[in-house]
Symmetry: C2
Subunit: 240 residues, 2 copies
């Protein structure tokens, strides 16, 4: 490829991926232990430099696919972080993506890979960095601006879950209405109204009844639903 562009030094470009999942009713994100300086031994988001021949989304998918079981998950661009001093090595701009994965679709993993609990110190959509805690509730040391990036991911997810079908991405294929409600509560950080949630979701046409029910639950079993991809709804609206 001919490169007519100026050869002056220009910023480096990375992608970082906020992989969000739900464990024990709380949001968790995947962190890796960093080996090299800077921030050696600290925890960071999975990421990598963008190659010349791959799109941004492909770079994010490549970073994800390095972990088992993470092909074909929800993946969306989040925000691009470009503070001048965010990387001590030099000027590195990072395009952040976030991914949603059903509850622990992969093993909690090795000593240098873990799911950290996301502790959100603000309400609603206020925004700001989050804290990342281990299973013993100790705060993990996190490198770069990655606590800030996860904060933006939570903010985006909170703003989106009420009007876009993203809650399903955190659940297995079949789920009950209560499980879906609990996903919304974990994401939004507040209790949700059970009655209107049920009515709203049933009326939305997004739920495909499976005819099956829970088993061995110690109480009346709930009906299992499946997410109905909104193909029918779209064609109804007459786009073609």
């Amino acid at each position: 490829m001919a490169d007519d562009l100026e050869r002056f030094p220009h910023p480096h470009l990375t992608v970082d991926v906020v992989l969000l999942t739900l464990r024990q009713g709380a949001l968790h994100t995947l962190l890796l232990r960093r080996r090299a300086a800077p921030f050696a031994q600290q925890w960071v988001l999975p990421g990598g430099f963008v190659r010349l021949d791959e799109t941004l989304e492909a770079a994010a998918a490549r970073v994800l696919a390095a972990k088992p079981g993470l092909a074909d998950v929800f993946l969306e661009q989040l925000f691009t972080f470009g503070d001048v001093a965010r990387d001590p090595r030099g000027r590195v701009v990072s395009v952040a993506y976030y991914a949603l994965v059903p509850a622990a679709q992969f093993g909690d993993g090795s000593a240098d890979q873990r799911l950290a609990r996301v502790v959100v110190p603000w309400r609603d959509l206020a925004g700001g960095p989050v804290e990342l805690h281990d299973d013993g509730d100790a705060r993990l040391p996190v490198g770069f601006d990655h606590e800030h990036i996860v904060g933006v991911a939570v903010q985006r997810l909170r703003g989106k879950i009420d009007y876009a079908p993203v809650g399903f991405e955190l659940l297995p294929r079949d789920f009950t209405l209560l499980q879906l409600l609990q996903v919304h509560e974990a994401v939004l950080g507040t209790a949700q109204n059970k009655d209107s949630f049920r009515r709203r979701l049933l009326a939305s046409g997004q739920l495909q009844p499976t005819g099956r029910r829970q088993r061995d639950v110690g109480h009346r079993p709930a009906e299992l639903f499946r997410f109905r991809r909104p193909r029918d709804a779209k064609t109804k609206k007459g786009r073609k």
Copy 2:
């Protein structure tokens, strides 16, 4: 600044700015006539390469400030476009911003600078590229993926105007409720309900009455309002 990073070739990084304003009841965006190849003589968004010592937002503000009267306007990151072939010169990733400016705060300008009318060929939030027309309603030839970028800007603005105070950014300091309604209609591309719009906005606490009214309008003059920056509302919520 020490640069420990690999010296391999890496993507170039630009910012492009979608400057939106309202003329004759329709959205317009600022385009510049491009002098050099590629896309010479075609129309493109204002943009430029990101320097090593400036943040992304600073780069976007710098591009804007090159035009008279465009300091201190609404400016927000939109999306980062990274298709491999979006720039024929080589790999160029562009962080797009969008700006909102009160009706023609600057002259329509010279032969190589114009406000193009934004024609949106899709409904609601469907998304996709837009067409950019001149005052004679002829479609302008637009370089790069800039019709696509403006499309994302319109999509973002449509999604945001109903719950965030962005309509004000397209109006002069003092305005009437009807003018604000017409801003919403121009952005959303559909007629809006007058009655509930009035009630909703008056109840929102975002409008500061000025006590003054329109003049010389040939009918009963409407009250002039001013946007109330949501400081009071925030302190009420107790964030301090």
